[in-house]
Structure formats: structure tokens, C-alpha cells
């Protein structure tokens, strides 16, 4: 990797293409050479344009009226499909339960491993990241018998679509773990806990009133990721035959494609606004790469 300078100088003659070109000494974000600016602009316009095209097409498709006019009827029609409204409500309820369960399960456990049993930290991390190695569709195959058992033995509760929260908590673990872990690493949990305990606070109070406020950025982004994941979840709910938002959108697509595209577009927009607000008001929590720059020197 480290080669003598002579070779690197002699290798500098061929033009590397405008796309790979940021060597000029300058501060990051301060513009750059004209060639690089043009290259960046072209890249952004082409790739972002491609990413935006289907979204624009959704908007175009879902606002078609009769004889080439524009109409918002598909959007107002959303309200007139009771199944759709039911799917939205179900998914929102599952999302609320998932966020609650995920926080109850993860926050105390993670705080406890940091403060009291650091040797378990790796184990907890491994278990939290494990769902990444087990595709949702595989999980359905294995969870099917468990859900059948719950449906038969736990009465109304066991057969409710809200039980999906139990499995959604597992799906969200990797993302939630990373978000909360990033926050925990940016503060000195052990010292905070020591201080709170030495002033007479019990563990519940230490966690709730001292540590949680200090990691609220991580908690917030973990929650938003959980909400987005639940609202977008299709694999498990469809194969366990629960009518969540995505399942209803899929079924509606066959009957009224205009309304289903309208719902899809609204849901994507909703998720985008959520994530955008998070990146604006809880910086550093969603992606670790920027954190060092934002910490006070």
C-alpha cells in the first residue's frame, strides 16, 4: 500500500477521468475545482434524476382525471375504502406497540451491559445484529408454528394482527441497536450512572431521568426507523394473512391502481418527512460518520 513516492508521481500522468477528481488542497464543502463541480453536478442530476423519476411518475399517475385533466380524486378516495383505513390504523397501532416494546427491551438492557456487565456487550450486539443474517421470509417459515400456537391458545389477543409487533421488534433490532449504541458511546454512561446512584437514585430513576434524556437522539431515530419499518412491512404480514397497510395496498392495486399508487405515494412522502426531520433535528444519531465533526473539541 505504501509505495515509494517516485512511483506515485510517475503514475500521475494518465487522466483519471473527471468523475474521480478531488485532489486540490481546499476545505471540504468549500466548492472545489471547476472540473470537480461540473462532475458533481452531472452525477447528482443523472442519478438523483433517475431516483426521482418513478416518484414523479407516481404523482403523475395518481393525479390523472378524465380526458387528460388533473384530479385529486384518488387521494380523496382513500377515505372511502374502509379496508384501507383499517390497514392504516392497524399498521399505526403495530408501529406504536413496536416502538414501545423495542425501547422497553433494548434501552435498559443496553444501559445495563454498559454499566454493569461489559463482557455481555458483545453478546447483546451479536444477538441484535443476528436478524440481518436471517431474511424476513425465513423468519416467517419458522414463526408460523409459533403464531398458529398463539392463535389457538391465547384467544382474541393471540389472533390479533397486533401480535405482529412481537416479530417487528426483532426485525427492527439491528437498526435500533445501532442508533442507540451510537448515542450511548457519545456519553459517559458509567459516570452518569455513578453520579445518579451516589445521589440516591434507584436504577429505574437513573435510567429514566438521567440516561434516557442524554441519549434521546438515538432513541428518537430508533423509534422513527421502527415506525418506517412497520409501515413498510409486507413479507411477514402477508404470509401470516394479516391485513396491514402494505397488504391492503397490494390487494387494492388489482382493483383500483390509481388509489393504491396514491396511498403508496403518500406513505413514501410521510416516511421521507419523518426521516428528514430526524436528520435535521437529531443530527449524528442516524449516521455515525458525521459525529466526530459535531462533537465539541
Amino acid at each position: 500500500m505504501t509505495e515509494p513516492q517516485g512511483t506515485s508521481l510517475s503514475a500521475s500522468t494518465p487522466a483519471g477521468g473527471a468523475l474521480l477528481a478531488p485532489p486540490r488542497p481546499r476545505r471540504r464543502g468549500a466548492g472545489g475545482s471547476p472540473g470537480q463541480l461540473v462532475a458533481r453536478a452531472i452525477v447528482l442530476i443523472l442519478i438523483l434524476g433517475y431516483l426521482v423519476l418513478p416518484l414523479f411518475a407516481m404523482l403523475e399517475f395518481s393525479t390523472r382525471g378524465d380526458y387528460g385533466t388533473r384530479s385529486l380524486k384518488p387521494y380523496t378516495d382513500i377515505l372511502s375504502y374502509p379496508n384501507l383505513m383499517e390497514g392504516i390504523t392497524t399498521s399505526l397501532e403495530i408501529a406504536a406497540l413496536t416502538v414501545l416494546g423495542m425501547l422497553l427491551l433494548l434501552v435498559p438492557t443496553m444501559v445495563w451491559t454498559v454499566v454493569r456487565v461489559p463482557r455481555m456487550r458483545r453478546v447483546v450486539e451479536f444477538l441484535c445484529l443476528l436478524p440481518l443474517a436471517i431474511p424476513a421470509i425465513v423468519l416467517v417459515v419458522g414463526i408460523g408454528p409459533i403464531y398458529r400456537w398463539m392463535g389457538q391458545n391465547l384467544g382474541v389477543i393471540g389472533a390479533s394482527p397486533l401480535t405482529l409487533a412481537l416479530i417487528d421488534i426483532i426485525l427492527v433490532l439491528p437498526y435500533a441497536y445501532r442508533a442507540i449504541d451510537a448515542s450511548l458511546r457519545s456519553i459517559d454512561v458509567a459516570t452518569l450512572a455513578d453520579a445518579a446512584r451516589s445521589l440516591g437514585a434507584g436504577w429505574p430513576r437513573t435510567i429514566l431521568q438521567v440516561i434516557v434524556p442524554n441519549i434521546r437522539g438515538g432513541i428518537l431515530s430508533a423509534s422513527v426507523l421502527a415506525i418506517a419499518l412497520v409501515l413498510g412491512e409486507y413479507t411477514i404480514s402477508s404470509l401470516l394473512s394479516f391485513n396491514t397497510l402494505q397488504v391492503v395496498i397490494y390487494l387494492l392495486g388489482k382493483r383500483d391502481p390509481f388509489v393504491s399508487v396514491a396511498v403508496s405515494f403518500s406513505a413514501l412522502l410521510f416516511a421521507f418527512v419523518l426521516l428528514f426531520l430526524i436528520s435535521r433535528f437529531a443530527p449524528g444519531a442516524t449516521h455515525r460518520g458525521r459525529q466526530p465533526a459535531e462533537e465539541p473539541a
Binding site: M1, S8, A11, S12, T13, A15, G16, G17, L19, L20, P22, P23, R24, P25, G29, A39, I47, L48, L53, P54, A57, M58, L106, P108, W112, R116, V117, P118, F126, L127, L132, I134, P135, A136, I137, V138, V141, G142, I146, I169, I170, A190, L225, A228, G232, Y234, T235, I249, Y250, G253, P257, V261, L268, A271, F272, L275, F276, T286, H287, G289
Partner: protein
């Protein structure tokens, strides 16, 4: 399992435990309590993650009435439909991972060179989060509204440009269509995964390279490339598992047959059970776990190397 000494800057437990708790003599009690507090999490993960995985693993080596058999697993390698599904899934995942990694990597570079706190970056990152992780069924509909029957691009090509290209939307329902939609959500995932690595390239390194007379090419050839290579490979593997595990998009687009693994599992779950094939679905699922696990292990090894630079 792993050597936990690697990169674990955790405080040692003794001083903390000693200072936080009052009095002596509670050693074993305290130790018991320390472990007990972790029980709920582990029990939960055991029931809803480990148990389902065990059901899949054990199910794939048992018959319907509980006897041990290797027949289910043998079918994975001998039945044409299953072999074909795995081959197609792996091809699809490799192709879309490479395309997504290259296009997404270039996009990430363009974003990383901009203002780290700028609006553009925040918009792109938020949008990428939505498109990469939220999509599934809705992205399938987005492409139907773009390239499907009577959709905007189809109509433009047919009526305005009078080109045969793209005017027949049936390609969208084939593996080609799947590859296009998969690539569409791989690009933003690449951006999310790769952006931190690009941020790790310090300005000083550009400056050092330039002050020694290095060109753009020599910077990427001798500094940027080698540093980013592990991260890029890691991201590539992550994209592979992402495409390999994807189900919703395929389910919404493909209406005939079960050409890829995830669809094949769904077909096994939904179809009438053929006598003697009750657990074949579980064997296919186990096959998926094996493929993803192998990739994840390689990913972890590469990541360990990459983390030396991205700090």
C-alpha cells in the same frame, strides 16, 4: 466465538460496580442480579428469533411425522425448480449489488464532497433511507406507474417518440424488471452504507497527495482506493444479502411462477402440501440462511479490516 478483545474499549467492570454499590458482602448476589437484569432480553430473542431459526433448521431434517431425514435437503440439490431458484436469486443479487454499488458509490462521492451539514445532503440521506428500507410493494407500484401499461414513460416512447424500446411493458414482470427495480433500491442503500467511509477520507490526505504533486488519479490509485476498498467490498456484500433476502418487490411484480428463492418459499407456504414435501420449504429457508451467513462472515472479516481506517 469471537475474540472480544478486538476494539472493545469498555471500562472494566470492577471499579464501577465497587463504587456504585454500597457495602461489601453482596458479591454473589450482585453478580446474580447483574445477570438477571439481562434475562428478559435474552428470553425474548430466544423465543422470537432463535426458536424460529431452530424450527427451520430442525424442520428441514425431519419428515412430517417426526422422523429424521436428509431427503428435504437432498431435494434442494436435485429438484430443478429449487436449483434454478437459487441460481437465479444469486445471479440477480450479484448483478444488482454490483450495479447498485457502483452507481450508489459515485452518488455517495458527489454527496460527500458537498457541505456535510447542507440541505442537499440531508435531503438525499433522508430520501435514501425511505427508498432503501421502506419500499417493497410501493416501489413495485412506482415502477408500474413509470414503465407499466399506460404509464408515463411507456406512453412517451410509444406515442411521442414512436420507438419500440420500452413501449411494451411486459419486461417489467420478468427477471429483467426485477433487476431494474432491485437496482433502484440498491443505489440509495449503497449511499447510506458507503457515505461514512467516504467521510472518513481526511482532507489532510487529499492535501498531502496534492502537495506532493499527485493527480486525482494517483490519489485514488494510491490513497483513496486502498483505504476505501474494504468498505466498498463490505457494502457490496451487504447489497448482495439485501437483494437475496428481498421478497415484497418480487411478490408484487412477478405474477407467474416462483422464479427466485424468496418467491419459491412463499409458494411452498401457500400451495397445497404435497405428501412427503411438508418440510421442503424449511430446507429452502435453511439454504437461504447458509448463503446469507457465509456472506455475513466474510463481511465481518472485511469490516474488521475497514474499521482500522474509518474512525
Amino acid at each position: 466465538m469471537t475474540d472480544r478483545a478486538v476494539g472493545a474499549p469498555t471500562p472494566s467492570d470492577d471499579p464501577i460496580a465497587g463504587s456504585a454499590s454500597s457495602g461489601a458482602g453482596g458479591g454473589s448476589f450482585r453478580r446474580a442480579r447483574n445477570v438477571l437484569a439481562l434475562v428478559p432480553f435474552h428470553v425474548y430473542v430466544l423465543i422470537f428469533l432463535v426458536l424460529p431459526t431452530l424450527i427451520v433448521a430442525l424442520g428441514s431434517i425431519t419428515t412430517a411425522d417426526g422422523g429424521i431425514t436428509l431427503d428435504n435437503i437432498r431435494q434442494l440439490f436435485t429438484t430443478d425448480v429449487f436449483v434454478d431458484a437459487f441460481v437465479k436469486s444469486i445471479q440477480l443479487s450479484i448483478a444488482t449489488a454490483i450495479l447498485g454499488a457502483v452507481i450508489g458509490g459515485i452518488l455517495a462521492w458527489a454527496v460527500a464532497r458537498g457541505n456535510p451539514n447542507g440541505l442537499l445532503r440531508q435531503l438525499v440521506v433522508a430520501a435514501s433511507g425511505v427508498l432503501a428500507q421502506f419500499g417493497g410493494v410501493m416501489l413495485a407500484f412506482a415502477f408500474l406507474a413509470t414503465f407499466g401499461f399506460n404509464a408515463i414513460v411507456t406512453n412517451v416512447f410509444k406515442d411521442t417518440l414512436h420507438l419500440d424500446l420500452l413501449s411494451d411493458p411486459s419486461w417489467l414482470y420478468s427477471l429483467t424488471g426485477l433487476a431494474v427495480v432491485y437496482t433502484y433500491f440498491q443505489i440509495p442503500l449503497m449511499l447510506i452504507v458507503f457515505l461514512p467511509a467516504l467521510d472518513g477520507l481526511r482532507q489532510e490526505w487529499y492535501d498531502a497527495s496534492a502537495s506532493l504533486g499527485g493527480s486525482a488519479w494517483s490519489f485514488w490509485r494510491h490513497v483513496g482506493g486502498p483505504i476505501l476498498a474494504p468498505s466498498f467490498l463490505g457494502a457490496l456484500l451487504l447489497l448482495f444479502t439485501n437483494a437475496f433476502s428481498a421478497y415484497a418487490t418480487a411478490a408484487a411484480l412477478v405474477s407467474q411462477g416462483c422464479p427466485i428463492v424468496t418467491l419459491q418459499i412463499a409458494c411452498q407456504l401457500q400451495s397445497e402440501v404435497v405428501l412427503g414435501q411438508e418440510n421442503v420449504g424449511k430446507a429452502i429457508a435453511l439454504g437461504m440462511i447458509v448463503v446469507v451467513s457465509v456472506v455475513m462472515v466474510i463481511y465481518a472479516l472485511i469490516q474488521r479490516r475497514a474499521s482500522r481506517w474509518v474512525r
